[in-house]
Amino acid sequence: MSLAFILFFLCALLAVGGALALILSREPIHSALALILVMVSLAVLYLLLGAPFVAAVQVIVYAGAIMVLFVFVIMLLNMGAEEHTDFSKIAKFAGWPLALVLMLWIGYWLAHAQAGAAIGTGAAVEPASTPGLSTQLFRQYLFPFEATSVLILIALLGALVLARKEE
């Protein structure tokens, strides 16, 4: 039971617990907090997988900016707890079992994926360093990089236009 295993199970438990809290909460603000918990525990898992830069970007961008946006919108709209209406008897009884089947099916095929010979041996090469990642980003993936910057500009303009008051 090395430290890596303990940390992995702890973070996995936190992530699954957060996802369950997202589903089972009545207040949207609690769901948002649960999702932040999931994101931070996933960041720790990325650290365990040897990708520290991606972990930091996940926390800074995803948990620190996108979720702040969600929390602001929930606070501003302030529409209270969710309504509870029963809309389908089939969903009540077949919902969770079907979800379990979905998870087991995807999990089975992912776990038996041909993930290559270097599974978990921890190769000595550390290619996931920041300089290596940025070299890949700016050489091989330069076009997607520029395209996503244009995408963000479009999203900015779109949000600006949508949020403007009708005069």
């Binding site: 603000i29 960041a43 930091a56 970007v57 800074i60 900016a65 929390v71 602001f72 606070m75 360093s129």
Partner: protein
């Protein structure tokens, strides 16, 4: 005993964290004392002078007051979030200090083989993780304002968190110039690496990043003041504006936690400013001036002599006894630091602490001197002036760095 030898990293980390936590909490308490004293002297009055000699026991009295105050909980609808917010704010503010190196990594931890003494961790992306921790710190403020179930905290919390996320962008941008110069995100490499801040221009001006990156430093400092909600950017929590902003409805210990979180954030950004722009734990004097290792000891001895003079001439009664204790501590510490072995080891943290104290003095000086911005002025300053200036700094730094390659192909 073999647990200690089998897990040196864990044991060393626990000891270092305990010591650092104790030191940081004491520093927080005395930072509040220093703030009250300095602002008082700026305003031509004395600060606290009643509780203990020169008011030095005032933080202790304040701490006891916070513990014994009645804990009024307003009729909040969301108990969980209301209680969570101050804990979140304080724990994040304190965790950022764990990533900071207080001295050179070459000084070994006593009795444990292979551990550094002056930093808890030495991560390759230390700078990014500090920014990650400060970006989650926004939630403490937003959730506190939201869960207080009242108009003023909600407005204060929303304004405060919007201000924090706006200035966070400028904060990060102004630091990228330093990262370009140093070529790494590791704190120890930024200070002492091959492209670091060791060495001197013309043999006596230290090669600190504040000289090539002066614009970056000014942007960083301004954004840091806004990020920590200090004057001149503290409209969301000013007393004359929104009662007390997001922490209006908190009392006693939870308010104390917000209070400590604000000062801990101040200490964190000062530590970052020292590391990135002022050479961290490097000394400003050239290395060949060998007498500089006696400076900490000499400084403490001088402080002890001043306190002795004060004890004899000015203090009366119980304050005299307290100041005599301070004199004894200062003189004892000073004489200890004059031993060459100790003096060599204590160099790094001494210079680091000195620089942090100077930056904190500037913070407090600004609080006592400047009026505050109105909220819309604050937001337009952040987005329309500070962010373009930081971006321009980044572009010019990058251009200057690749200019030799552009010229010679």
């Amino acid at each position: 005993m073999e647990f200690i030898s089998q897990h040196p990293v864990l044991v060393a980390s626990i000891i270092k964290i305990a010591v650092l936590l104790f030191i940081v909490m004491t520093a927080l308490a005395y930072l509040t004392w220093a703030e009250r004293k300095i602002i008082a002297h700026i305003q031509s009055r004395w600060g606290p002078y009643f509780v203990g000699a020169h008011g030095l026991l005032q933080p202790l009295a304040d701490g006891l007051k916070f513990l014994f105050k009645e804990d009024i909980t307003p009729p909040v609808t969301d108990r969980l979030v209301y209680t969570l917010a101050p804990f979140l704010a304080l724990s994040l503010a304190l965790s950022a200090i764990a990533l900071i190196p207080f001295g050179p990594p070459s000084v070994p931890f006593p009795f444990l083989h292979g551990q550094q003494a002056w930093s808890i961790t030495d991560i390759n992306i230390g700078l990014l993780l500090v920014f990650a921790i400060t970006s989650i710190g926004v939630y403490g403020v937003a959730l506190a304002g939201w869960s207080s179930n009242s108009k003023y905290p909600l407005m204060g919390g929303l304004r405060s968190s919007a201000q924090m996320i706006s200035y966070e962008v400028s904060l990060t941008m102004s630091v990228v110039g330093v990262v370009l110069l140093a070529g790494t995100l590791n704190f120890n490499e930024i200070i002492n690496g091959p492209h670091g801040q060791s060495g001197y221009w013309w043999h006596f001006i230290p090669r600190w990043n504040v000289v090539p990156q002066i614009v970056g430093f000014l942007c960083y400092f301004t954004a840091a003041i806004a990020e920590t909600n200090r004057i001149p950017f503290d409209l969301p929590e000013a007393e004359t504006e929104l009662v007390a902003g997001f922490h209006t409805e908190y009392s006693s210990f939870k308010f104390a936690m917000f209070f400590m979180a604000e000062y801990a954030n101040m200490i964190t950004v000062s530590c970052l400013a020292t590391i990135l722009f002022f050479g961290g734990w490097l000394s400003p004097f050239p290395d060949r001036w060998a007498w500089q290792i006696y400076l900490p000891g000499a400084g403490l001895v001088l402080l002890g002599i001043y306190c002795a003079y004060d004890t004899v001439t000015e203090m009366r009664g119980i304050a005299r006894l307290q100041l005599a204790v301070v004199t004894a501590l200062a003189l004892g510490g000073g004489l200890l630091c004059l031993i060459p072995a100790v003096a060599g080891v204590i160099q790094g943290p001494f210079w680091f602490t000195t620089k942090i104290l100077i930056i904190l003095f500037f913070y407090i000086w600004m609080r006592g001197t400047l009026p505050r911005f109105r909220y819309d002025q604050l937001m337009s300053f952040g987005w329309k002036l500070l962010l373009p200036v930081s971006l321009a700094n980044l572009v010019i730094t990058a251009f200057v760095m690749i200019w030799p390659w552009l010229r010679h192909g």
